[in-house]
């Protein structure tokens, strides 16, 4: 057995145990902390599988933003209600039986899956030069399967609208009450924020030829926005409602506009004219980054309904 295999086994065993303990932790705060660790280990899995794009996204979104959302939410809704009654034997065994059956079928099918080769990946790598960018994952996201990414930006937009919809307040981003963040925290944020914005910009720029891109950059920028809002200054609160809406929809509409341009010039939706492909992709990526970052900040800050908080307090 090689050392690498030992690492993989330890990682997978740890991941499974942590996942189970996170879901069934008696105290949901523990569940939230364990979920952060789960995201961290999953990011290590992506590192091991040589998928840095995913590791970046998982580190920023899975462990980072989702973790912050959970930590914040369990403060309000984490109080455990009455314990469930002791289940009958069937009640205990049946979920396990179903889950294990499903998992065994899935894992069994995958273990015995033949490697036939001839994947889409080879086609992508062969034709990446035609796309206008050099990094294959970015090429798939913005060119070869631009449709998916466009609609995915739409999903995020819908989620942001839905989160705003279930709140009681009509203010888009509720302003925090006067907060007394410790000076150490604000001073550290004074260094971390510019560093984070720089790293976000770097990830966006590097995405055209190396791992990184709009999603990862937006996640890092959103994390910085969340940091600011936790320190008592909601980053989007000072914007007028119109500007905020523009930020939210600019990614979706820019993508749509690029698609329509393709339809008019090249006769196919989202096909970019070869000469301008690089530029069009850059503009789309910029707009998409801004929109995703704004949506993620809103998903975090917008969900924190202060009136509800106080009623529950």
């Amino acid at each position: 057995m090689t050392a690498g295999l030992l690492f993989d086994i330890a990682l997978v065993v740890g991941l499974t145990i942590i996942a189970f303990r996170a879901i069934h932790a008696p105290d949901l705060f523990v569940g939230a902390v364990l979920y952060i660790v789960f995201g961290l280990l999953l990011a290590l899995v992506w590192v091991r599988l040589n998928a840095p794009d995913l590791a970046l996204a998982e580190a920023a979104i899975g462990a980072g933003i989702t973790g912050a959302m959970l930590l914040d939410a369990v403060r309000q809704v984490g109080s455990p209600a009455r314990r469930a009654p002791v289940l009958t034997r069937i009640g205990r065994v049946a979920p396990w039986a179903g889950a294990v059956g499903l998992g065994a079928v899935a894992a069994g099918a995958l273990v015995t899956l033949e490697d036939r080769g001839g994947t889409l990946g080879e086609m992508v790598r062969g034709r990446v030069a035609e796309s206008g960018v050099d990094h294959p994952v970015t090429a798939v996201l913005l060119v070869f399967r631009g449709y998916d990414t466009w609609l995915e930006v739409g999903v995020l937009l819908v989620a942001a609208i839905a989160v705003l919809g279930v709140r009681r307040t009509r203010v888009l981003v509720p302003s925090e009450p006067s907060s007394e963040a410790p000076p150490i925290a604000t001073a550290a944020a004074g260094v971390l924020l510019p560093a984070g914005v720089l790293i976000g910009g770097f990830l966006l720029w590097t995405g055209s030829h190396a791992p990184g891109g709009a999603f990862q950059a937006a996640a890092v920028l959103a994390a910085m926005g969340i940091l600011v809002s936790l320190l008592g200054r909601p980053p989007l609160a000072s914007l007028s409602a119109l500007r905020l809406r523009l930020l939210l929809v600019c990614g979706f509409t820019t993508f749509l506009a690029a698609g329509v341009v393709g339809l008019l010039v090249e006769d196919a939706f989202l096909r970019y004219p070869a000469a301008a492909a690089g530029w069009i992709i850059t503009v789309i990526e910029l707009a998409v980054t801004v929109s995703i970052a704004a949506s993620l900040v809103l998903l975090f800050a917008g969900g924190r309904d202060r009136a509800a908080d106080e009623a529950a307090g």
Partner: protein
Amino acid sequence: MMDPRDVLTVLCVLLGAFFFFAGTLGVLRFPDAITRLHAVTKADNLGLGLVVLGLALQAASLLAVLKLLLIWAIALLASATSCFLVADSALRGQGERESAG
């Protein structure tokens, strides 16, 4: 005969791993949250620093060395702040809320 640079890398990384081990030991064995914080923050950042130093010796370019040092610098700043915040929250009593685990 190993390259002296490789020897240095091995030494630094091993020493770094030792400090991580010491930090984990402290977290598991020290009696309360404040002493455990002390173990985590000091031992881990020294450990990370030594690993970074060891790997910087292997780095192919100056840019890679700078990136490694940047990682360590951000880690130092972030963990010093985190240490303060967790200790602050523990001392104010909120973090002391016993939670069933």
